[in-house]
Amino acid sequence: MKIENVPVKGLSSDEYEKTLKISWKPTLQYAWDNGIGIGKYLQSLKEGKILAAYCEKCGRIMLPARAFCEMCFRPTDKYLPVKDTGTVNTFAICHVNWDASRLKPDEPRYIPAVIEIDGASPGQGIMHLLGNVEPAKVRIGMKVKAVWKPADKREGSITDILFFEPY
């Protein structure tokens, strides 16, 4: 058995322009229910607090808040606020947008990070952005604190935290 002369024609840009094509732009919009655990998490963000869920069987304090413990497979027992400080577990400095287009040189870079939140069980991280920091100065293990939107501007969204900054 030999696999060579494999089929399929790749189109050059020129050929692609000339070949017949059909265009379609979907017009779908979604409204995703937040449900119970995340609903409470967001409500709490509006109040300027990060909410975790506690499972008394395994003792984990989990982020983001959730209605059931997926390890013990039972409902979580209570919701409790944790601190709005944490430690950078890992981070990136991103120069591209979601559609792979490039940020302009003068546009600020996104610095997404996984942040382990103080007061939650070890390793319980959330993804958020870092700000007020030179990208070159960011380090794994850096202590960071949430910078909140003013209370009257909060809307129950993860973006009620603008970003985390070193403190």
Binding site: V6, P26, G123, M127
Partner: protein
């Protein structure tokens, strides 16, 4: 364990390209027909068909499984589509294995196809909703974020440099020069990788596999049928799959525990107790270069944190002790998601038959492993082949 023996008896693959003229069903047909011809079978000999393909949003075709049906030879047959993210391409033959190993049929065609070029402005847009719509999407994440985050954590944990990681891309893109399907084969150097554009520090453009169109297929047969068809059957000796939580930010990003669990499942079935000694050729999933290292460790092919050093020493080169991604991998051959995983299975199949041509690794390997990975650092799918 009461499973029947299952062999791969034929394989087919298309070129992997940036934009294919062919439609998804046409690509599926070309790969399927090649696999059947290689096996010496007709479509009427195929009793069941399994199809692996990534989310409908890539091709922009809902019910993609049904859309691809006739090209995959599934008309009026027991046919089923499976999907476990980027792990699909290795899960598809596992799914086919279930059909034959259980005794449900003797001949099963396994097809994987992807046409990502339909999606504009970029297939990354279709990835947005893998992030939690409430707690992550509002931050406007891109797919590269999570890889950059995972790569940095991996580098930090083991004190690795970008050069350590780039060696994988160099090896695979060079290996792919010998693969007839290759989309992005190139005689690159470490400098080329490090000088390529930074997309999300520490990830450079050449650390990443491309978006691709392509298809692949294999024919699986039960022991009796396989022995009638060929004197070189390649046996599926072990299969494993495992999924970890979607709360990806709560995991140890430096180690793919779910890949280890999938590998242990496959090794146990295959009677492999010392994978680093017994596996002679490997195709771990390499959509990003650090992922190959990550997955070598998850597959227990080396100690944790050792994969980069072994790569630097040439251990994973085609002529090394454990040739890894001799095909050229996703980084060199291209990455039409599901078809990539199956391409890796096909590579091990060809290597064990000593029919890999210029890519053939020396030493008449008898045992190999292929693995795929996917979703939010979640899915491990593993298949062990033996000649």
């Amino acid at each position: 364990m009461g499973f029947r023996k299952v062999a791969i008896v034929g394989a087919g693959i298309t070129k992997f390209v940036r934009r294919a003229q062919e439609t998804g069903p046409e690509m599926s047909y070309l790969a399927s027909k090649m696999a059947l011809d290689q096996a010496g079978l007709k479509l009427k000999d195929v009793e069941m068909v399994t199809l692996g393909t990534a989310p409908d949003a890539f091709d922009g075709v809902h019910m993609k499984g049904e859309y691809l049906l006739s090209g995959a030879g599934g008309n009026n047959k027991p046919y089923i589509r499976n999907f476990v993210g980027g792990g699909t391409g290795v899960f598809a033959p596992i799914h086919g294995w279930m059909h034959v190993a259980s005794g449900a049929c003797d001949v099963c065609l396994v097809v994987c196809s992807e046409k990502m070029s339909s999606c504009h402005p970029h297939p990354q847009g279709a990835f947005l909703t893998i992030f939690d719509h409430t707690t992550e999407q509002p931050l406007k994440p891109t797919l590269i974020w999570i890889f950059a985050l995972e790569m940095r954590r991996y580098m930090e944990t083991y004190g690795l440099t970008k050069e350590d990681i780039a060696r994988v891309a160099v090896k695979n893109k060079n290996n792919a020069l010998d693969h007839p399907s290759a989309q992005v084969a190139e005689a690159v150097t470490i400098e080329d990788i490090l000088n390529s554009e930074v997309l999300a520090e520490p990830v450079h453009r050449l650390d990443i596999s491309p978006a691709s169109d392509g298809a692949a297929a294999v024919v699986l047969a039960s022991e009796d049928v396989a022995k009638r068809l060929t004197d070189k059957p390649v046996w599926i000796d072990g299969v494993g799959w495992n999924l970890d939580t979607a709360y990806w930010a709560t995991k140890d990003l430096y180690y793919p525990r779910y890949v280890e669990k999938a590998a242990r499942m496959a090794y146990e079935m295959a009677g492999i107790t010392e994978p680093h000694k017994e596996i002679q050729v490997a195709e771990p999933y390499d959509p990003f270069d650090y992922k190959e290292l990550h997955h070598m460790e998850g597959l227990l092919l080396c100690e944790r944190g050792e994969a980069a050093r072994l790569t630097a020493e040439g251990y994973t080169a085609r002529t090394g002790n454990l040739p890894t991604c001799p095909s050229g991998g996703a980084l060199g051959v291209g990455n039409p998601i599901a078809a990539t995983g199956l391409m890796k299975v096909i590579e091990i199949f060809l290597q064990l038959r000593e029919e890999a041509g210029k890519r053939q690794v020396p030493g008449k390997p008898r045992v190999g492993v292929a693995q795929a990975w996917g979703d939010l650092m979640q899915v491990g799918t593993v298949i062990v082949l033996r000649r």
